[in-house]
Symmetry: C2
């Protein structure tokens, strides 16, 4: 039961990034996105992946690999459309 | 060692939200922030807190409690300044 809560929590926090990425690309504007937010999240997600990989925790590896992709897309949008 | 990676990862992904919150309040604009991003993250962080509380994982409890506060502030900004 508790494990399922972790899976749902990971799904929600990872895929939350998808509508955010789509929104800035659609608006062609990322002025409001904080570059510190973006780079901190990216570095944090990379470290969560390392943490999961070292401990062999598959859900952490899966969610954070997807997360790295999504956050990278947001960072690209920020570099392209921010300011 | 691995534990420290988890602490740093949690610090980065939680406090990443702070400059993002400050930015939208300073700009008084949250048009680019996706409401789906905001509500999914909030629900996900609440579930991570439940997961951590059930398993008695103190770092998860600490990071996600702070996270709930920060994400709530971003949601308030979205409701106030979005669109």
């Amino acid at each position: 039961m508790t494990e399922y809560i972790g899976y749902i929590a990971g799904f929600l926090t990872t895929f939350a990034m998808l509508p955010q990425v789509l929104r800035v690309y659609r608006l062609k504007s990322a002025r409001e996105i904080s570059i510190i937010f973006n780079t901190s999240i990216l570095l944090g997600v990379v470290l969560w992946l390392v943490y999961g990989a070292v401990l062999g925790l598959v859900p952490l590896i899966v969610w954070n690999s997807i997360g790295i992709g999504l956050v990278s897309l947001l960072l690209l949008a920020k570099l392209k459309y921010g300011r």
